[in-house]
Every structure is written in structure tokens, then in C-alpha cells.
Symmetry: C2
Subunit: 116 residues, 2 copies
């Protein structure tokens, strides 16, 4: 059951009563139905419930966020999902490090010229 009383996004989507101890209600509010639609499509409701229930209560919100993030990206990019983001970030790191190495090399040249 949601803090305000109504059903959460999961129970609305699954067309069921939202129990007072609903595992979804804190993490899938009725005002963001798409968040539940994505995790349901990718993991299935029972897998999401199981993954959340296996965690201590103080870590469930972070887990629901990361599951929702991964599910949304898998829906948007069914081939690479989050792994596509990871590839792009690796490229960005490679570019920044290449540029850093180049700048450090230029700096070394200036320093050595000055010393000479």
C-alpha cells in the first residue's frame, strides 16, 4: 500500500490489491508507472520482488533504482543495454587519458627546455 493509501504502480499494473507489506510500494510509486513497466518487461515482477526481498531493507531503494536504470536502458537498447553505456564511458576515459598523456609530454618538453 502506498503511503497515501492507493495502490502502487506494480499492483495497478498487475491488477491486484496492494497489500500493506507490498515489496514494490516504496520503490514503484503510482505516479511513475513506466518505471515498473520496464522492470516487469526485463526481469519479470516475481524476479524483481525476489531480488529486493533478498536484500536488507536499507539497501532495497538503491537496488530498485539500479534495476530500474538497467531495465530502462535494456528497453531502449535491446542489444547492449547498460553495457553500451559502459563501452562509451571506456572510450571517454581512453580519450581523456590520451589527451592527458599528450599534455603531460608537452609540459615535460617545456620544463626541460627551461632547465636547459
Amino acid at each position: 500500500m502506498m503511503p497515501g493509501g492507493g495502490r502502487c504502480a506494480a499492483c495497478k499494473y498487475l491488477r491486484r490489491r496492494c497489500p500493506s507489506d507490498c515489496i514494490f510500494s516504496h520503490y514503484f510509486p503510482a505516479n511513475d508507472p513506466q518505471r515498473f513497466v520496464c522492470v516487469h518487461k526485463i526481469y519479470g515482477a516475481s524476479n524483481v520482488a525476489k531480488m529486493l526481498q533478498q536484500l536488507p531493507a536499507n539497501l532495497q531503494a538503491e537496488a530498485a533504482d539500479s534495476l530500474s536504470f538497467e531495465a530502462r536502458h535494456r528497453v531502449e537498447d535491446p542489444v547492449y543495454g547498460c553495457v553500451g553505456i559502459i563501452h562509451r564511458l571506456h572510450e571517454q576515459i581512453h580519450n581523456a587519458e590520451t589527451q592527458l598523456a599528450r599534455t603531460q609530454a608537452q609540459l615535460s618538453v617545456f620544463i626541460s627546455t627551461r632547465i636547459d
Copy 2:
């Protein structure tokens, strides 16, 4: 059915016959049972089959790899999964860019000193 004839990791795990058109057989070989165990645990076999079947054949191997990667990281880190990696890469980019900006500033000082 695997190219060599035997059952794939999925069909072995699910204790079923491996049909000639098994959607798992090309991507979940018998010699890497853990790969299937992870995707089964996180997504469920039928969700994995559905996600692969919805893609053109030439993209299924990449999708199976990225699903396996995400599932393995979710098993290893049930709170953050792949999102933990993304956070760490963002930090790494931030550090590289900070260092780059500092080195570029030092270089500018040297260049301006030389011109003066």
C-alpha cells in the same frame, strides 16, 4: 542442439532435450554452465529467450553477451549490478578530466612565461 551434438548449458540446466532450433544453444555453450546460471537467476530463462528471439539473428550473440555481463555483475553485486561499474567509470572520467585541466593550466603558465 550444440554444433557438436550435445545439449547446451540452458537445456542441461533445465533438464530438457535440446531442440535443433534451440534459441540458447549458440550463446550458452555446455562448457560454460555459469553463464546460463547467471542469466537464469536474474532474468529467468523465458525472458532471456524472449529478448533474444525479438532480435535479428545477427544481433543475438551481442545481446546474449551483454545480458550475461549484466547478470554476472548483478549476481556479484545485488545492490548496484552494472550501475556500480558506471559510477566508478564516471569517477575515473572526473579524475582524468581534473588532472587534464590542471596539466593544461600548468602548460599555459609555461607558454605565457616563455612568450613574456
